[in-house]
Symmetry: C2
Subunit: 327 residues, 2 copies
Amino acid sequence: MHVMVIGAAGMIGRKLVERLAAEPGALGYEVTRLTLVDVVQAPVPATLSATSTAPAVDLSSEGGAERLIASRPDVIFHLAAIVSGEAEADFDKGYSINLDGTRSLFEAIRHEGRNGPYFPRVIFASSIAVFGQPFPEKIGDEFFTTPLTSYGTQKAICELLLADYTRRGIFDGIGIRLPTICVRPGKPNKAASGFFSNILREPLVGQEAVLPVDENVRHWFASPRSAVGFFVHAARMDTASIGPRRNLTMPGLSALVGEEIEALRRVAGEKAARLIRREPDPVIASIVAGWPTDFDARRARELGFTAESNFDEIIRIHIEDELGGRI
Amino acid sequence: MHVMVIGAAGMIGRKLVERLAAEPGALGYEVTRLTLVDVVQAPVPATLSATSTAPAVDLSSEGGAERLIASRPDVIFHLAAIVSGEAEADFDKGYSINLDGTRSLFEAIRHEGRNGPYFPRVIFASSIAVFGQPFPEKIGDEFFTTPLTSYGTQKAICELLLADYTRRGIFDGIGIRLPTICVRPGKPNKAASGFFSNILREPLVGQEAVLPVDENVRHWFASPRSAVGFFVHAARMDTASIGPRRNLTMPGLSALVGEEIEALRRVAGEKAARLIRREPDPVIASIVAGWPTDFDARRARELGFTAESNFDEIIRIHIEDELGGRI
């Protein structure tokens, strides 16, 4: 099977490819060819170098999607996007990449189908940003999408396209609405959501981290390992049971910032927990107050998607996957 | 105020213009200029001929939207669309007109804003086709949009765009999700929903009509007069109270086909009711079985939108507006 990962240089893209390298049978079939696409050349794990290529292609460029799809991949992971803050700051860029880029990909698949039977599976990374407040206490699977960002709007539109192209038999699509990924590896960044990961990742290596909100802020989380698991499961599952409602809110963990800190204390001790410095930031607090806090992701769980059930587990996964198993 | 009606040659467009002609103060302000746009030249009522133009413009054509918006209309009714059946039969045409045409209009408004402050009100005709089965008994205002047609997908996408462009201050948008319009004037057509109107309209003028489904089929209705009323209200209301959720399911009447027939019997007598010929059509019955049957349109009612509460009223409106008040 020819597998294509679009957005292969991003955090989840890289981890997905590492999983395919570490566990060749992960998808339930043999990956005979792997194409790792990004706007820059994506890293290729050494064990996959014989079967992999890593073209630098911008999906939103003229003919970009057609060139990719001409190779007729059987499974396409579409993870490429402009992030929320940038899509809000640059209206044209956000719509061009997040909406038009995705639509170009879907259209290229439709047109390729005219050259002979072609019906790839398309797994699309969506986001809980498709929801906008006010929310019920738990957001159910039938709650409406009223995004309050252009990013969320673009994701919600692509979800609708994915469902329609699937319904019309153009491809076999699944939309994966990701929780906030925690612990996000790498350095602290300026994303408003950064602190959720910073307050765990930094203390675990003896560094200070800033907490800009109250400990009773609640949010919705899954580990990077779970995120990769969602995509792997979506690539190997029997899609017949999904029906026409192809966009799924992934399971996750609803937890308080205070519960994150208690878990850190249990796993890494009081010394680590003391590295968290409280510096209330009303701007960040007000942004975060608009985010979903809890979901009843029943459909996805019934379809076999799984995530963590407590923060101790999320922290242990970070230690295993990023810190060589030791702190 | 400069008012533009796009889709002015369609059934609701024509009735909206007739209302503006009959009641010049309907919108709560003086209409100093009226532009009636359609792909063909729209009819201009004699009393409005001094202030009106009727350019034939295709919104999806290159530069079409920009030319229209260069005249800086203050209020834009966007009613133009390819209908459901055609959008399903012709994938490219449906997306081109229903999605790209609407997006061109929204983009033209955004670009016109660079030539000087410009903030028109945009009233967009959406549809209950944004919903897809299975449904709860009554579809509430927070039920998700999972359309099962490309038409419904295109309308749902335009709703998302309208909300985002409004949130970003580009225009003041309202999406009007119309019930099935009944009694639809004109001749019987081949639309699967045609019989809902045919079985009233034809017997009222002594003609036979075919009923292809069972009398216990339930559906969601409003008269053409109510539909025009929705658009007029959307053009004159204070939009501050709507908030960011700009797409509203309009109120309507949930009724059985049997209730339609009883109302016909009450208003026009047994002789009229006997003109309905039962000819069960399993294909039509199965299409209709997938349609919504009832809504709790609370938000729209609270915002002042109103519709009929029984079928006697719907039939009387048809007699007044289409048959000169007499049968």
